[in-house]
């Protein structure tokens, strides 16, 4: 392993060691900060419940990510292709994006019930904007020369979009997807806070009511790992796209 790659791993190990020994050295009560080994022990002891909660949230987040980012991409294309729509919609887009997700969650539960659908919608809502904004940025950010070039050869607008703009926007779109990947689990978990009987959000809430700190920390850790694995998944897909597609024509 190269030194560059080994450093983050070593840093992680150091953090875990600090986490493990700070409560012991400073005699911190368990309900304030349990030891790392206690957190892991709590997860292992309840592994079946943990598995169910994790898989529910992962499913909601994944479906939400697929829906939200697909819609975000399509909407981004429509907005980028029409100056009128862009001018009319942009202020509202910023306004809607500024609504705190926690304020929206109860409304979505009222509309769609406390089942999986409302969680998927919340996850999709959070995934939608980063992809939309980055798609618009990617599609509108290009040197003028390409527009002239495509026009000279009589290319249609559709050809320019498919054979140039979208390919050129890929680095921006992937940036949006990576952001969305981390937001998807946040959306699902926040929705589970508001109304659910399963999932990581529900488990965090229950653990906090019971002052079960090791379990609470365990689920917080899992929530972070879930976001990280979605991010890794998108990065993996990006790695499989040919290297030269990842650059585009920077302006």
């Amino acid at each position: 392993m190269k030194v560059k790659n080994a450093l983050p791993v070593l840093f992680g190990i150091l953090l875990l060691l600090i986490w493990e020994y700070v409560p012991v050295v400073f005699d911190v009560p368990k309900y304030l900060l349990p030891r790392f080994s206690e957190v892991i022990g709590s997860l292992v002891d309840n592994k079946e419940t943990v598995r169910i909660n994790l898989s529910i949230t992962a499913y909601e987040a994944f479906i939400g990510f697929l829906f939200g980012s697909s819609l975000g991409f399509l909407f981004g294309v429509v907005v980028a292709e029409s100056r009128v729509i862009r001018d009319v919609i942009s202020p509202y887009l910023i306004g809607v994006n500024a609504i705190p997700i926690i304020a929206l969650a109860p409304l979505i539960i009222i509309w769609f019930g406390s089942g999986v659908t409302s969680k998927v919608i919340m996850a999709a809502f959070l995934c939608f904007f980063p992809v939309t904004v980055n798609t618009i940025k990617g599609l509108t950010n290009r040197p003028r020369v390409f527009e002239r070039l495509f026009m000279v050869y009589g290319a249609s607008r559709y050809e320019f979009l498919v054979k140039f703009k979208i390919i050129n926007a890929l680095p921006f779109i992937f940036s949006g997807l990576k952001l969305s990947a981390t937001y998807a689990s946040i959306g699902a978990i926040v929705a589970e806070f508001t109304g659910a009987d399963k999932g990581i959000g529900f488990a965090i809430l229950r653990a906090s009511y019971n002052l079960d700190s090791p379990r609470l920390w365990g689920y917080i850790l899992l929530a972070g790992l879930l976001g990280l694995s979605f991010y890794g998944l998108v990065s993996l897909v990006e790695r499989f796209t040919p290297k030269h597609f990842r650059h585009g024509t920077s302006v």
Binding site: V145, R148, M151, V152, Y153, G154, E159, K163, H244
Partner: protein, 253 residues
């Protein structure tokens, strides 16, 4: 094919004076017209009008009596820009043959291998643009313009971003290619020596609204314009005349 620009008026909302106000000129079949002029004097606008990228507010542009839009569909107009506009995800060869895959659904003739040979790109055809030098990129840019066997070639400062040595070498290569073809060519450049080296006729534009302030026909045959001619009194005299015109124009503002 001869290009006829007839009484063209073209204005932009953001500029108070029209760029062209009844501008008329003709570029004859097989002629290489070099256009010089200060920045913002409508040189690129003229090329964009001829290419059909923008339309005149009034007046007409025709090529052998045919409208530019019709020729555009037949890919008979080629355009090479200063920013080479190479697609970064395509190899040199794929960039060259790219015009054959775009636009009109009717198959367009074109032989990429012939162009690779002509432009001296053998050995570099599988390389991506970011692996090529500035000079090689411009060779691909020109090769792409020539692939459809165009009748009219528009060159908008294609060598503007190159170093002096690469630029001179490309000038000689382009001169050879144009000599061997019967292309009607319009070259826009800031470089007086380049205009004299490549042009059959050199035209100087004023600031907008555009007028032709000087026109010189270069009588030396293209095949005789070698490095020795660049040192000749004839070449220096033409360059001097054009430079003086530029300086006077600049002084008059």
């Amino acid at each position: 094919m001869s290009v006829v620009v007839n009484q063209v008026i073209k204005a932009y909302a953001e500029i108070d004076r029209p760029i062209f106000d009844g501008f008329t000129t003709t570029v004859f079949k097989g002629e290489i017209l070099a256009i010089l002029g200060p920045s913002g004097s409508g040189k690129t606008t003229l090329l964009n009008l001829i290419a059909g990228i923008i339309s005149p507010d009034r007046g007409s542009i025709s090529i052998n009596g045919i409208s530019t839009s019709q020729l555009q569909k037949q890919k008979k107009i080629a355009y090479a820009f200063q920013e080479d506009g190479l697609l970064p995800w395509k190899t040199a060869e794929q960039n060259i043959e790219w015009p054959l895959t775009i636009g009109s659904k009717t198959p367009t003739l074109g032989n990429p291998q012939e162009i690779i040979e002509l432009m001296g790109l053998r050995g570099a055809e599988k390389q991506l643009p970011n692996e090529l030098s500035g000079g090689m990129r411009q060779r691909v840019n020109l090769g792409r313009a020539l692939i459809t066997y165009p009748e009219v070639l528009l060159l908008d400062e294609p060598f503007g971003a190159l170093d002096a040595f690469t630029r001179l070498r490309l000038n000689f290569d382009v001169s050879r290619i144009l000599r061997e073809s019967s292309l009607t060519t319009i070259l826009v450049t800031h470089d007086i020596e380049e205009a004299v080296l490549l042009g059959d006729r050199v035209m100087v534009f004023s600031a907008p609204p555009v007028r032709i302030t000087k026109e010189i026909i270069i009588k030396t045959r293209l095949e005789d314009r070698n490095q020795f001619w660049l040192e000749s009194d004839n070449f220096r005299d033409i360059v001097k005349q054009l430079r003086e015109k530029f300086l006077i124009q600049d002084h008059e503002g």
